[in-house]
């Protein structure tokens, strides 16, 4: 039975709990947030960039930076809502303690997904800073990328939470990576433009949320305005809401029966 999540502001206490833990290891965590995308940008950007040249009018590095902002949001958020959330649900039984307090499953799920979105925002902010320092950003509009990333992070956090909700072990996550995340990463216009692909596959990519995020983020990074922004954001939001509803329904059955 699929009932809508009953959310309350109590989810913030779950979010704050995760923030407090993150703050303990803030420094190495932020260094990772800066280091990894920098490495990607430099290695792929310079390495491939020399071979690829420009894409349309864009230097490859510029093209890649806007793609990596989106894929990093996806990865960061998914990892948090898969491995970290699953650990708190099972091994550490942190959720069990929360459910003994006046929190319910929907609060906990929303708190975890919001935290996953927050981590996506942190990592993408780091990339945005790196990209602007490297001169890969076209205008002030790039700041608008951040709310888009928050939404994208929520969307992928919610999708990952569905997987977490049905998992019986960490191994199960590999199916999600292999069957969903990796194809999405490669076929959503992060590393190369979608028009390089056969039309059917290129259109198929828009069935999944990452391609929509890239469509909105890339023009913003260049200082322009995205076309059909409402449609793209709508798809991302719809994925997030449907996944959130599904995740809470499965989690309620798993934890409250």
């Amino acid at each position: 039975m699929l009932t809508f999540p009953a959310v309350s502001l109590r989810f913030l206490s779950v979010w704050r709990r995760n923030l407090r833990v993150w703050r303990k290891l803030m420094l190495p965590s932020i260094m990772g947030n800066f280091g990894e995308p920098l490495l990607y940008l430099l290695a792929l950007g310079y390495g491939f960039g020399q071979l690829v040249g420009d894409i349309g009018e864009l230097p490859y590095m510029v093209f890649l930076a806007s793609g990596i902002i989106c894929s990093s949001a996806m990865n960061t958020s998914s990892f948090e809502a898969l491995y970290s959330a699953y650990t708190r649900m099972t091994v550490q039984r942190t959720w069990g303690a929360m459910l003994d307090a006046p929190l319910n499953v929907d609060d906990v799920a929303l708190g975890e997904i919001s935290w996953a979105a927050t981590k996506a925002l942190i990592s993408s902010t780091a990339i945005l800073v790196v990209a602007s320092l490297l001169g890969l950003v076209g205008g002030w509009q790039a700041v608008l990328v951040l709310p888009v990333i928050l939404l994208t992070g929520f969307c992928f956090g919610a999708c990952a939470m569905v997987v977490t909700a049905v998992s019986r072990s960490y191994d199960f996550f590999l199916y999600y990576f292999t069957l969903v995340m990796t194809p999405m990463l490669l076929l959503s216009g992060v590393f190369f433009p979608l028009d390089q692909l056969p039309p059917l596959i290129a259109q198929g990519a828009f069935l999944l949320p990452l391609a929509h995020a890239v469509e909105v983020v890339r023009p913003l990074m260049l200082g322009g305005a995205p076309t059909n922004a409402g449609l793209h954001l709508g798809v991302i939001a719809a994925y997030g809401l449907v996944a959130f509803t599904l995740a809470t329904a499965i989690l309620r059955r798993r934890l409250m029966s």
């Binding site: 779950v14 039984r93 942190t94 929360m98 003994d100 006046p102 319910n104």
Partner: protein, 317 residues
């Protein structure tokens, strides 16, 4: 057990019920785990749920907390219909779970502060309450310790302190002393007695008869999902078991089984032990005294005798 009841907390007046359950039923697939439990837990008492593994104790507790909906039946906890208003009920309940689930990402003190935030508690008043609870749990010297560095007894004490962070009217404890050494267990018992004296209601599950006898004002023996007896420990013993028990071991018990049985009134053979139950111990004492080869132990009847009589002696796995 006599207890001075003073400073009764808020709504929990004498005579009020902390928990009222009628016809509580829980079905998982084709398994009926709890089958028609009626339960009245009075405000301010320590109430025990006693039963073998799989009897339905933990499921009953989960229903009380609104963590699993009953398949049928009526349930009120602290005046709130549960599960409908479970969140409001849990606001005033403290829970000590069977397996410690302290937050390993935080220190001792941070655990209390973080748990308080789940109740929406914060501020100076909370800081003072946390200090008081750390003292209550004898952990005031370990406030900055990591959870992994605590002993089992310390963890349980911290779990108890954590359960009190919201000044609960009702504290629910699932096997509070399982796995603790005698010192740690005594400490927990003292603390639980203090909580009852403060006017809080306690519900605990346990396998330990001694624990139930010492702590509980009343207890329910639960087996196969139903309550088969419910009263004070003393009344249960008086109602179900003769006051004197003789335990005989050794080669001679075959001989004593008949003779002792006639003298005592009731005899029971369990493996290589013969149990004789009686109201009048004198004749047996004399007869056994006259048989120097027969080893025996004379003891008062206890809750364990009641428990085994009512739930049987087969192993439960």
């Amino acid at each position: 057990m006599h207890r001075a009841r003073h400073g009764v907390m808020g709504e929990t007046q004498t005579g009020a019920l902390a928990v009222e359950a009628r016809g509580l039923w829980k079905r998982y697939g084709s398994m009926d785990v709890v089958r028609g439990v009626d339960l009245d837990v009075r405000a301010g008492e320590c109430f025990g749920l006693l039963g073998p593994n799989g009897a339905g104790k933990t499921t009953t507790l989960r229903m009380l907390l609104g963590q699993t909906p009953p398949s049928s039946g009526e349930l009120h906890v602290l005046g709130h219909p549960v599960p409908r208003e479970a969140r409001l009920a849990r606001n005033r309940i403290g829970v000590v779970p069977q397996m410690d689930n302290l937050d390993p990402d935080f220190t001792v003190r941070e655990n209390l502060l973080t748990y308080a935030s789940y109740f929406g508690l914060r501020g100076d008043q909370l800081a003072r309450r946390v200090d008081r609870l750390l003292e209550f749990a004898n952990l005031d010297g370990r406030t900055q310790a990591q959870i992994q560095a605590l002993s089992g007894g310390m963890k349980r004490r911290l779990s108890l302190a954590r359960a009190l962070i919201n000044e609960p009217a009702l504290v629910v404890l699932d096997e509070p002393s399982t796995g603790l050494d005698p010192q740690a267990r005594q400490h927990i018992w003292q603390r639980l007695n203090m909580l009852v004296e403060q006017g809080r209601t306690l519900i605990l599950t346990t396998h330990y008869m001694e624990e139930a006898e010492r702590l509980c004002d009343r207890l329910a023996i639960i087996d196969n999902g139903t309550i088969i007896a419910c009263d004070s420990p003393r009344n249960l013993v008086a109602a179900h078991i003769e006051p004197h028990v003789f335990e005989l071991r050794g080669h001679g018990i075959g001989e004593w089984e008949h003779r002792g049985g006639t003298m005592a009134g009731r005899a029971e053979r369990v493996g290589d032990t013969l149990l004789l139950y009686t109201h009048a111990p004198e004749p047996l004492l004399q007869a056994l005294g006259a048989d120097p080869n027969q080893r025996y132990w004379h003891r008062p009847a206890g809750l364990e005798d009641v428990f085994l009589k009512l739930t049987g002696r087969e192993l439960r796995d």
